[in-house]
């Protein structure tokens, strides 16, 4: 068993050497080359197996992808829809057929037995890589990864990983939020901007995103304040609308959001003011209100992940990328954005893309007057993903 494993590791290593990190291309020629190299490479067992390729390569026609969705992609706008668009994009990029994708929809992420059944069904149907898109699936994935070492489990938005067949993936959505904050800061007339947040201050993902948005606002309009209202739910159509209505009543004239439904945008449209959508381009839901939307293109990750399994370069490492890779972005600006918005956004985008500057770099002061990042410093990724429990100085909690 051990021998077979090390052989496979070496094979994977050889393949990865040939294909290079993440690059794609004529796999057929490489497969034959690798087959030839296999015997030679097998002699030097385990040689430097760390790094690339910890799982055996799987031929493209043998790939079967399982997807566990929180709701139904047919919802058409929010979290699940966006993930499913990513899966469809991956399928097109790699030329997989429809029966190579197994979807399990509406899997309640608080019901562990249901999650377990859904994932096992994917395994039973022959899936060799399973994307579990919701946070609540994490612990089940971790346990099943141990039970099924031949199956790859990739879990969205969590923080656990075993370095072999279980990783997690997420992205620097805060970069896109910063850019959208610029559009909001330039548009506001009342200098009050609302933000409907799914979770409160102790959730680093939501709070960091809100801070990035507020920093974008501050960069172009230091006078404006960002009013945050928390719904305490990832998906609460009614609560999200109520929160937006309350913010509008406070006089906010741009509504940003970190929640699932387009309801905050619809509320803004009803009042004749503006907003910034999230997940997918919400201008399809509220065309007269949405300045831009903070969007995910999950196909970037899904393509890379499945491709790496085909190439045998799957590393089992966590994935955390952003604007540069195209995983996150903002949707095209509406023509009613304030003048000069595009220039300002492009300027900030350039700095992020060139790597000269990122959102959580330089002097950052919280709304309680504390300095959390000094001039010349940059917060590390661990802090960004798990340690932002403060609000930026122009944020007011409502």
């Amino acid at each position: 068993m051990k021998k077979v494993l090390s052989l496979l590791l070496v094979l994977a290593l050889t393949l990865s050497c040939l294909t290079g990190c993440g690059s794609s291309g004529g796999d057929e020629a490489e497969t034959t080359a690798a087959a030839g190299a296999e015997t030679a490479a097998a002699e030097e067992e385990d040689a430097g197996a760390e790094g690339e390729g910890v799982m055996p390569a799987i031929a493209k026609e043998d790939i079967k992808v399982g997807v566990i969705h929180l709701s139904d992609p047919a919802e058409g706008s929010g979290y699940t829809y966006t993930h499913d668009q990513g899966i469809i994009g991956m399928q097109e990029n790699l030329g997989l057929s429809d029966d190579q994708i197994v979807r399990k929809n509406s899997v309640d992420d608080t019901n562990v037995s249901e999650i377990d059944t859904a994932i096992r069904e994917c395994i039973e149907e022959g899936c060799n890589i399973i994307f579990a898109t919701s946070w609540g699936y994490m612990d089940t994935c971790e346990a099943l990864a141990e039970e099924y070492p031949d199956v790859i489990f990739s879990h969205g938005t969590g923080y656990k990983c075993n370095g072999v067949n279980f990783n997690n993936y997420f992205g620097r959505i805060y970069q896109a939020r910063y850019l959208s904050g610029i559009a909001a800061g330039l548009k506001t007339e009342t200098n009050k901007i609302g933000y409907v947040a799914a979770m409160g201050q102790d959730n680093s993902e939501v709070t960091g995103g809100c801070d990035a948005f507020a920093m974008g606002v501050y960069s172009v309009n230091p006078e404006a304040e960002v009013y945050v209202k928390v719904t305490n739910s990832w998906f609460d159509p009614e609560g999200e609308k109520q929160a937006a209505d309350a913010l509008l009543a406070e006089g906010c004239d741009v509504i940003g959001q970190h929640c699932d439904t387009p309801n905050p945008q619809l509320a803004a449209e009803e009042q004749g003011v503006w907003g910034v959508g999230y997940n997918s381009d919400m201008s399809k839901d509220a065309p007269d209100a949405v300045l831009t939307s903070v969007v995910w293109d999950w196909s970037v990750y899904y393509t890379k992940a499945v491709e790496s399994v085909i190439n045998g370069t799957w590393t089992g490492e966590n994935y955390y990328e952003g604007l540069a890779e195209g995983l996150v972005d903002i949707a095209p600006l509406a023509d009613f954005c304030a003048e000069g918005t595009e220039e300002k956004i492009n300027e900030a985008k350039e700095k992020m893309l060139s790597g000269e500057w990122d959102v959580f770099s330089g002097l950052i002061e919280t709304n309680e007057g504390e300095i959390v990042c000094e001039e010349g410093q940059t917060l590390d990724d661990a802090t960004i993903t798990g340690g932002i429990n403060w609000y930026y100085k122009n944020v007011v909690v409502k």
């Binding site: 197994v102 019901n111 037995s113 946070w135 798990g386």
Partner: protein, 373 residues
């Protein structure tokens, strides 16, 4: 005046209670209902644009096609079966225990305490303690409404129903507060239990299935052959009769609800430590309500409960497979389940009652034939 009115205009159709039908006829009626249910469901599938035979075939094969599929189906059956047995004890006494959800949750909560904080105990001691804790938790949650009913005549349907939400909020509070996983980075969840605190697997499924099978025998014997079981039936038929016969109705009430809750609580312990290996707000998966249907469909007979639970399990597991195999929305699967249930439950109505159309003058003869035997 109303008397006259009634005589003049008899309703077009009225409902008449049947005398008991012979067993063979009942079986035939049920079979007919099942066929009609499948036909109506098939019509629905056809309308959605699929071949009903293929869909039905996939439901069956999806639930039974491989050892893995069967294991998953059995995992769905276990909580349904145990909870149905639990509520049956109460229903036999005509006590409307709608609170199985809450009793399951409290059983899971009590058991989880030991799984979280005493995971280092000897495995079998821990399992036994957790089972006992689960039964106590569920039992107490069932005893509460029974005590109020016995002493103050409160309505047990509302009382048990409302306790479900109390139990649910207790779990929310625990996972958001005192029992929150320290490594969860601010998210509200309870950590996965230690392996030592989870039920062992027998033939690929946690051994809750063995407990369930044993419980069938116990409940069957208890209800049919013990004095306490007899008391339950008598209290269920008529409390006055029970009192006249010298039974302590209050004691029977409290004892039976304690047992009913304890069985549901044991189910909670089995779900938390066998299937979920953690405690979440979704621990019941809704079986507390489905079990009520299963219990009544089975006429409160423990052996029939086994059969009906198996059928429900197959339907649920199979539906999940048709969703992914055909892209049929989960809502469609729910509609299908609803249609089938509608016919099967409707059939029970026709076993007990019959509809009588408004008659012409010679109605009397007709009635003699159908009604009184």
């Amino acid at each position: 005046m109303s008397q006259n009115h009634y005589n003049d205009r008899e309703p077009v159709i009225r409902v008449v209670k049947r005398a008991e039908l012979p067993d063979r006829q009942i079986t035939l009626l049920r079979l007919l209902a099942l066929i009609l249910a499948l036909a109506a469901g098939g019509l629905f599938i056809l309308c959605v644009g699929y071949n009903p035979f293929v869909i039905y075939g996939t439901i069956l094969s999806g639930a039974l096609r491989s050892p893995m599929a069967i294991q998953a189906t059995v995992k769905i059956i276990i909580p349904l079966l145990i909870t149905s047995l639990g509520v049956t004890l109460a229903f036999k006494m005509r006590f409307w225990n709608i609170g199985a959800e809450g009793q399951i949750i409290m059983g899971a909560v009590f058991a989880s305490y030991f799984a979280l904080f005493h995971a280092n105990w000897n495995h079998w001691v821990l399992i036994l303690v957790m089972a006992a804790a689960g039964m106590i938790g569920g039992g107490l949650w069932g005893l509460l409404p029974a005590w109020f009913k016995a002493n103050y005549g409160t309505n047990e349907t509302l009382f048990t129903l409302m306790l479900n939400y109390k139990a649910l909020h207790i779990v929310s509070w625990l996972q958001d507060g005192p029992w929150r996983d320290p490594g969860s980075q601010g998210f509200a969840k309870i950590a996965r239990f230690d392996k030592n605190a989870s039920l062992d697997k027998v033939l690929g499924v946690h051994f809750g299935w063995i407990i369930a099978l044993i419980l069938i025998v116990i409940v069957y014997v208890y209800l049919r052959y013990t004095k306490q079981g007899y008391e339950i039936s008598v209290v269920g038929e008529s409390q006055e009769t029970a009192r006249y016969a010298g039974m302590n109705v209050k004691k029977v009430l409290l004892r039976t609800m304690l047992l009913s809750g304890a069985v549901c609580g044991l189910c909670g312990m089995i779900q938390a430590t066998g299937s979920d290996i953690t405690l979440t707000t979704g621990v019941t998966g809704g079986v507390g309500f489905t079990a009520i249907i299963v219990a009544w469909l089975s006429q409160l007979n423990p052996v029939t409960i086994l059969i009906v639970s198996v059928l429900f399990g197959i339907l649920e597991k199979g539906s999940s497979v048709i969703q992914s195999s055909f892209g049929l929305s989960t809502d469609c699967a729910d509609v299908l389940q609803g249609i089938i249930l509608f016919f099967v439950l409707g059939c029970e109505f026709f076993i007990r009652y019959r509809l009588v159309a408004r008659k012409k003058k010679d109605g009397g003869k007709e009635r003699n034939k159908g009604g009184e035997r």
